[in-house]
């Protein structure tokens, strides 16, 4: 049976209504929430740090190259790196990367629980499985994303600060001056709003693909791939939408 776009949208929202039903035993949920913050959030810190340092460094070199004309002040390198990180990289690009890491993790975990009847097992006990399994993940990821964003901006700038002077395209004082030029705090507000939306997508969409898997290990793998692709498309779509609504 081929299932269309609207079927999935409908089932996704009906899953969400189960996810946000009143929990039966809040103590168990709180315990689960801390586990998920640790598992999904804290375990993502290193990859965020490493990627951000590298991208920050690479962007600095590229801006320096593009702005090599002596008419432009060298401070623009710092400014360009900063705004790219603030507006797009540390929110959208990071969300795309996290969709690959966190998203596929969520789909395979929930999908495996589905095909090995662990979800049936919860349902038989009378546990609302959608809520018990998915709610803490959504809350954990939405909660952790703004922190990852701020960290990514910080380490991206650090990467620029280390790389730029090292390869001799910009001096330390120029770069530091540059990142303070024409600074709009609203960029951060805007990006944090995006992060909250992306956090919701990166957790709930892969959870959907895992929760409704049918078959065995092979199908779980396929569902993970599908989840990542669909999450990425949705992230880009919402990026466009939010940028249009909030920035222009």
């Amino acid at each position: 049976m081929r299932m269309g776009f609207f079927f999935h949208v409908g089932r996704y929202f009906s899953m969400l209504s189960k996810v946000f039903a009143r929990p039966e035993k809040s103590k168990m949920y709180v315990r689960q929430l801390f586990l998920e913050i640790d598992n999904l959030g804290v375990n993502s810190v290193w990859i965020v740090v490493i990627i951000s340092i590298f991208i920050g460094g690479i962007m600095t070199i590229q801006f320096a190259h593009a702005l090599a004309n002596p008419l432009y002040p060298n401070e623009l390198v710092g400014l360009g790196t900063r705004d790219t990180l603030l507006l797009e990289f540390s929110s959208t690009m990071l969300a795309l990367i996290m969709a690959g890491k966190i998203g596929s993790n969520i789909t395979s975990e929930i999908g495996t629980m589905r095909v090995t009847e662990q979800i049936d097992s919860l349902e038989i006990m009378g546990v609302n499985s959608a809520s018990y399994l998915i709610f803490p993940k959504i809350v954990a990821v939405v909660f952790i994303f703004p922190f990852l964003y701020i960290m990514s901006v910080f380490f991206g700038l650090l990467g620029g600060l280390l790389t730029g002077p090292l390869v001799g395209v910009v001096t330390v004082p120029q770069f530091i001056d540059g990142i303070q030029w024409l600074f709009y705090p609203y960029y951060i507000t805007f990006s944090i709003i995006k992060c909250l939306v992306f956090g919701f997508l990166v957790s709930s969409v892969p959870a959907y693909f895992g929760y409704y898997v049918q078959g065995g290990a092979l199908e779980v793998g396929k569902a993970s791939t599908k989840a990542v692709v669909n999450t990425n498309i949705l992230i880009l779509f919402f990026d466009l939408l939010l940028t249009r609504l909030l920035l222009t």
């Binding site: 049976m1 035993k25 168990m28 629980m113 090995t116 009847e117 049936d120 097992s121 038989i124 006990m125």
Partner: protein
Amino acid sequence: MIDVKNISKSFDGNQVLKNISITFEPGKTNLIIGRSGSGKTVLLKSILGLFDIDEGEIWYNDRNLVKMSNKERKLLRSEIGMVFQGGALFDSINVEGNVRFPLDMFTNMSGPEKTQRVQFCLDHVNIDRKAYKLFPSEISGGMQKRVAIARAIALNPKYLFCDEPNSGLDPETSTVIDQLIQSLTKEFQMTTIINTHDMNSVIEIGESVLFISKGEKEWVGTNREILDSGSQKLDDFIFANKLYAQMKKGK
């Protein structure tokens, strides 16, 4: 007691259960047997309410599952224990945690009371204290099934369901599991329903046997009567194994 009356179930026009009626009595091991794909799991899950049936009634003593509100269903679920085909232990939780899970979720027992109950259940299935901290992936298939049984009886259920509890186990371990389920059924006077396609189980613990073929009830009886059922389909199912065919001739 569970009374199933004229239930039917289909998926997208494919009728899997056809007008099945059967009574399962407490204190007995009630078996549902049939070929793979004959509808055993669908029947079990329909009785449990995991699938909504198209027609019929399912009575748990004097309560009809079909007419129950969500709240009543929840209450009923707390009286049900289930052992799934693969054990379905929560693989992120250790042995002890798996048995403790339903207690955490549904009781207001104190910590020490829970610990005591967990030990009681695991003792009943002969799981050693040394295994308490192991994770499901670290123990054998037979042990996983025993832990699954311990988890299923944690809340002292009135009804116990087992879907192919012996699948993937060697014959000796299978016998251990069968006898375990039977003795627990007697001890706690549960209404136990077991899906199986294992003839050893039928001979061993088949106090009441329902044979279904392509979703239809074909025969009901005990393990003593099964060789003289008079049903060709049942004979074909049983004597697919040559040894049993010889047993029948030489009996």
